[in-house]
């Protein structure tokens, strides 16, 4: 673990009796894109604020880029770019002025700061005519891009994005996440992004951690997560035929005789089959041999959505039965 850039050990934050973050231990390596997933109020923002030294942990340490974030926040903030979830700019200044101001706060010499700001805005895809617009005239998507420029102008080692996809349209989200991934790969920047939008995180993250009620339930790459979770019912095949099947279905016992098939559910023209191994070809053959017109076969793989759902369900049932 010598290339760990963010190390959280036993990080805890209490607000009165409420534990916002509960004994969080997490390591993020250099160059990685890590997704912190969790519902609203899970403690994601609190964790991020503690990493930046903007909030004091009740217990535990946060080391970022080798510095203790609580004791030496300035050193950490020199290396880390942070984009808050509610992005605010000074509306009486133009976009470029906003950016130049942040550059100056980071100690970039005045002779260079303007040039670098223009370069950053170009990099995040803001057009030249947008430079001198007041930020009050910016759309949400443009503000998000400006926010990214704002984070990049200090040439950080780590960028932390809090809900970066909040309130932008789907194509904007795709572009934005693509941009983040590209920047991370080109410059070797470590990215930590928090979100409750699962699909978006799925697209870009190397690793995710699922965070509920201040606790990190699980972390790892998407593959390992889904393997761990769905060991028994890993494959689910959905077959659609032209004619609706009437229940009770006469072929049901035969289909259940097939190896590895666990159970099936018939709903009009679609049949959901759960099996322990990938037996899609056998199932299709079964249907074809019995003269069904198969119009569609869909092999379901478990994505983040299901993972997330399952963890939440588990969590909810735990909460219901204390």
């Amino acid at each position: 673990m010598d290339n760990a850039i963010i190390e959280l050990r036993g990080l805890t934050k209490c607000y009165g009796s409420l534990k916002a973050v509960d004994d969080l231990t997490l390591t993020i390596n250099k160059g990685e894109i890590f997704g912190l997933l969790g519902p609203n109020g899970a403690g994601k923002t609190t964790t991020i604020l503690m990493m930046l030294g903007l909030s004091e942990p009740t217990a535990g340490t946060a080391r970022v880029c080798g510095y203790n974030a609580t004791n030496t926040p300035i050193a950490v903030k020199r290396k880390v770019g942070y984009m808050p979830d509610s992005l605010g700019f000074y509306d009486n200044m133009t976009a470029l002025e906003n950016l130049v101001y942040i550059g100056e706060l980071n100690g970039i010499p005045r002779s260079e700061v303007r040039e670098r700001a223009v370069e950053m805005m170009d990099m995040v895809g803001l057009r030249n005519e947008d430079l001198h617009k007041k930020t009050s005239a910016y759309s949400r998507g443009m503000k998000q891009r400006l926010g990214l420029a704002d984070v990049l102008i200090k040439q950080p080692d780590v960028i932390i994005l809090d809900e970066p996809t909040l309130g932008i349209d789907p194509s904007g989200v795709r572009d934005f996440l693509g941009l983040i991934r590209q920047l991370s790969r080109q410059k070797g920047i470590t990215v930590l992004l928090s979100s409750h939008h699962l699909h978006q995180v799925q697209q870009v993250c190397d690793r995710v951690g699922i965070f509920v009620k201040g606790k990190l339930l699980v972390e790892g790459s998407l593959d390992t997560l889904s393997k761990n979770l769905f060991t028994e019912r890993y494959y689910e095949v959905q077959v659609t035929v032209r004619q609706a099947i009437t229940t009770p279905w006469k072929h049901e016992p035969d289909l259940l005789q097939l190896p590895a098939v666990q159970k099936l559910a018939v709903d009009g023209p679609t049949i959901d089959i759960t099996c322990t191994r990938d037996t899609t070809p056998d199932i299709v053959r079964f249907f074809v041999e019995r003269g069904y017109d198969v119009t569609g076969v869909h092999r379901k793989e478990y994505g983040l959505d299901e993972i997330y759902q399952t963890y939440f369900e588990n969590n909810l049932t735990e909460a219901a039965t204390p």
Partner: protein
């Protein structure tokens, strides 16, 4: 020299913050309105004092008659109060309006988190708000004073005494300190209250309390415990008078009035009651600048201390504050 060049080229974050604050103030409508108000007040009081300056200066009974430029600041024919009295009302308004939304508007707008995520010390933000407003006010008042002396010189051709320069400069410093107190108070309230409107209203409430109700409250309270006046000896009267004055001096506007009148009217020797014995043998001449300054020193210290308290409280509240919006 080389150091100076690099420090100009690599601005400290604090310098950048002050620069941004001043730019923000100057471009805002609020400041333009305040500037207009101040200029109008200045112009009005100058107009009146200039039209009455001949009688004021030729009045041989007045020991201050020789100080033409101080007379310009204080002469009036009763239609409009002199500039320093007007400023007693206008100053709080200036200070409050420059500071009432200093922190909470940034928090509401989400810019606070963004700025705090930069490598700057948290108190620098607070200090930059305070310093930038004070810097602007100092420049403004200095410009007004220069305008006045320049205009006076052009119109009368009288040479300005060094003593007058000192008195006018210390008057400006006093104004800035007085407004600084209200600025500090309004910044404190802007940290305490999340809504800008609440903090503005509270600040104006405090100001109104001190200008209107405070004197009534004090006189009521004093009447309640002072014995009937016919049973009092002279020294008792003096004593009670002193108590009332000191209580009144808890109000910053009273401190400001005491200090400015003493500075601008060199013949004022004491701010409290003076007995006949003390007056006997005193020659009605103006005091030297140093002596006037000695008289007002407690007032000035009081104002500075009040400002400091406000600032320290702001600092205490802000350092521990959760910054998320």
């Amino acid at each position: 020299m080389k150091n100076l060049v690099t420090s100009l080229n690599n601005p400290s974050p604090f310098g950048a913050m002050v620069r941004k604050e001043i730019a923000g103030h100057i471009r805002s409508w609020r400041f333009i309105v305040l500037l207009m108000l101040l200029l109008l007040t200045f112009w009005g009081s100058m107009y009146i004092s200039l039209s009455n300056i001949r009688t004021a200066v030729s009045n041989a009974q007045d020991p201050d008659a020789l100080f033409l430029y101080l007379k310009l600041l204080t002469t009036t024919d009763g239609t409009l109060p002199p500039f320093h009295v007007l400023l007693n009302f206008l100053g709080p308004l200036l200070g409050i309006s420059l500071g009432f939304d200093a922190i909470n508007s940034e928090q509401q707008g989400g810019t606070l988190t963004r700025v705090m995520a930069q490598p700057v010390y948290r108190d620098n933000l607070l200090l930059s708000k305070f310093v930038s407003a004070l810097l602007m006010l100092s420049v403004l008042f200095l410009a007004l004073a220069m305008l006045m002396t320049g205009g006076g010189m052009m119109l009368t051709g009288v040479r300005i005494e060094p003593e007058e320069v000192l008195r006018i400069l210390s008057f400006i410093v006093l104004c800035v300190v007085y407004i600084g107190f209200w600025l500090g108070l309004s910044i404190l309230l802007s940290i305490r209250f999340r809504q800008a409107a609440t903090s503005a209203l509270t600040a104006i409430g405090i100001w109104l309390f001190f200008t209107v109700f405070y004197q009534i409250v004090i006189s009521l309270a004093v009447k309640a415990f002072i014995p009937r006046s016919h049973a009092l000896t002279e020294s008792d009267v003096l004593h009670y008078n002193e108590i009332i004055l000191n209580l009144l001096r808890l109000a910053p506007s009273q401190l400001y009035t005491d200090a400015t009148t003493t500075l601008l009217m060199p013949s004022i020797r004491s701010l409290g009651p003076v007995t006949m014995e003390q007056m006997a043998g005193a020659i009605p001449t103006p005091l030297p600048f140093g002596q006037s300054l000695l008289i007002v020193w407690p007032q000035v210290s009081g104002l500075i201390a009040a400002t400091m308290v406000c600032f320290a409280l702001s600092y205490y509240l802000f350092m521990r504050r959760e910054i998320r919006s």
